[in-house]
Amino acid sequence: MTTAVTLDYILLGRFLATAAERLEEMRAELSALDGEVGDGDHGASMADGFRAASLGFAKAGGEDVPAALRAAGESFLQSVGATVGPLYATAFVEAAKRVEDGRIGLADLLSAFNDGIVRRGNAAPGDCTMIDVWDPAARAARDAGAGSIGAALDAGRAGLEATRTMIASRGRAARLGSRTLGQLDPGASSAVVILSALAEVLGEPEARG
């Protein structure tokens, strides 16, 4: 595992900033998707939440990376609340626990996101939620050894596609029964946006840690 991809404060900061930017670009699209199955606030919550997380992370400084990640989560939570606030806040808290010497492995980061979100939301794979992206992505990153963002992204995208075949059993969409069939889950969609942002950041040759 000597070649394992890890992220330090700089890379994590770039990841959060890029994710915030991409989510902002997708703001309207995600909200429209959410309008089909939920209440239409998802794009705004995610874009504002990640912007707050990115700012909170930057403001905390790189001295103490776990503290900065916790600050990111706290900022996300207090800026939007909503459904995604507690979920991603817990994801950041979980990630903070897995930092070693100021760095976190890619597979650890993805597992932490998955575990934190599962812990707070109690969703399981197949419930038609963001977990249907985070779970396979985290597993793929782990299985690919060395932590491959490409494999994680592919697995996440396949998971997103699979939400079309699922019947939501969590959140507001759960009340829709079979009407969620054929629809992409908005939470799973934004999770793929975040994964893509991570891939974008890790894909830059000069950014490799």
Partner: protein, 701 residues
Amino acid sequence: MTDARPKRARVAKDGTAAEDGRAPLRFGDDPLLWAAWLYYEEGLTQSEIAAAMGISRPTVVAYLSEARDCGIVNISIAGDRLRALSLARQVAEHFGLRDCLVIPSDGGPRSLIERLGDAGAKALSWHLRSGDSVGIGWGRTTLAVAVAVPDLGLKDLRVVQATGGTTAAIPYTPEACATRLSEALSARMIPMSAPAIVSSGEMRDLLLQEPVLQEQMSELDRIDTIVFGVSSLRPNSTIHTSGFFAKALDQRDHYRDAVGSLAGRFIDVTGKPVIGSLENRTIGIELARLKTVRTRIGVSGGFDKVPAILAALRGGYINVLVTDAATAEGILRADGVEVRRQSLTRRPPSQPDRGKVAAAPGEVPQPDVKKLLNDPRDAVNESLEGALLAFPDHIRTIDGSVRAICRSRPAAPGKVGLVIGGGAGHEPLFLGYVGEGLADAVAVGNVFSAPPPDRIVRCTRQVSTGAGVLHVFGNYTGDLMNFEMAAEMAAAEGIDVRAVVTTDDVASSPASDRAARRGTAGNIFVFKIAGAACEMMLSLDECERIARKANACTYTMGVGLAPCSLPETRRPSFRLGPDEIEIGIGIHGEPGVVRSVAMSADDVADRIMDALIEDAGLDPGARVGILINSLGATPMMELGILNRRIRQRLEARDITTVRSWMGHYCTSLDMTGASISLVVLDEELETLLLRPCDGFGFRQG
């Protein structure tokens, strides 16, 4: 067209009319109507009509066609049947099936499983020949098929139990299914004398060396037809509750990728077998073998099974599918197929454009919904600022933040504090219900979005006077999580917090699962009654009990006529056809549970009142409070029309309306529609409901 018209034995001719070609009086001078009548009602041929009306046959043809075009003649075929038929054809085409049978999802008093059993029996009888060997799986639906099969009078049939047996305490074991079917068909039964799941791989290999079992297993190679159900792996599905796999089914481990199960084996979303710890301990037909059986009849319905059935279809395990319409539609949609829908009403051809707009949603750019906004992202804050300025006697900010608001006149010390909250966009909910006799503070989130915990904690601190604090909010995932985190934080500061979650929306979940219902306009009754209990200086325990009781006695159902649009998107948040309404709509634009063609105010009121009366178990003599609430754009005038009918219904049932409220109480931005809420009152609730209160959204002296 000739074969579509009804054949009548009795042909009545109007002799006088036939002679001079003049229409009989009852048709006035409308030749279209006359021709149509003679053709469809009297059963005359086109030539006979030509003779009767004194016109040429081509003119008759033209008249008849025009009569259909202009709506004089409506040809209708029982909608349900047609829909089921066309769905079946579409499913069969899309998945390359030999046959597909789709039954209506709703069909009177008999359960879906019973009706699927009938249909499965029918499919089996179509495909079965004398001398065939039939394999059978297990499960509720499979047993229903076996029960429904009549004696077909076929000879030399064999029924082969396709999997080992079980001692699980269920009536639909493999043994029971096979026995029942063999009896029904007067067939020879081949059992499988081993458990479906044995303790180890070695044990299975050992058992399979037994001559008896070997012979029985070899019968599996001879089957021409197999009938089986498809089980979902979702929590609460038969697979878990049957005890069939006991504790062996560790889904989180080997089987986490499995979405369905058939004949005791597991498949993933693409239909590939999932090989887990049970695989080498399972005795029964293997999936690879199952796929080679000539006729593979899968009988399964209920939309929770869509992922499992879709996987089974993708894997090629089924070539004759028996299911219900909702499930069939779900399967097609889940596989990305546009479902062809028959319209139940024939649109008048004079308005062809209406159909076009509906047919290409999203492609026609629609203008933004007009709204009075500045920067849409400031909408919530600016709106709260305005409300604070408008109602200074009622509400003020807590430490300057417009998102955490408390009542202007502080409550008496020793009173239980009542904190409410939720997303913006429902005004006057929630802040209109802050004031004397109501809530003490409110935490406001973004549009349709729960407030974050710190805001809720600030409200909690503000209203805590030592007697404890009650949190009351609607049942939504985001609100639950944020209020829960806030309660933990407040508890850490030594404040005793109790949470009561409102669950009044009848349409969102069945009565058996009341806790899963969302909280909607019935919130107002719960806030009012809980607020009164707090104001009477009752203890936290009492206030909590009363709030829970108020919620348990409150029932709401809404109807949406047109979608709302969010300030940021300014687009309709969902689509409704030009003549569609959504019964059971949620207060965030969540689609409701039934979409139907537009109906009159009385019909809507009846539909909702039927549901509420049944759900609440309202018997004559009951006393209720009612709330007729606009979802935003529906005017008071229409609420009045609804209320007129509501009161007629309540009076007819001898139910006393203690008090009613009508207006904008819990809106969904600019949604068009309304909701009706009932609170069923006992003495305690009635007293509390009628006590004075003073919030800007709800005042009574």
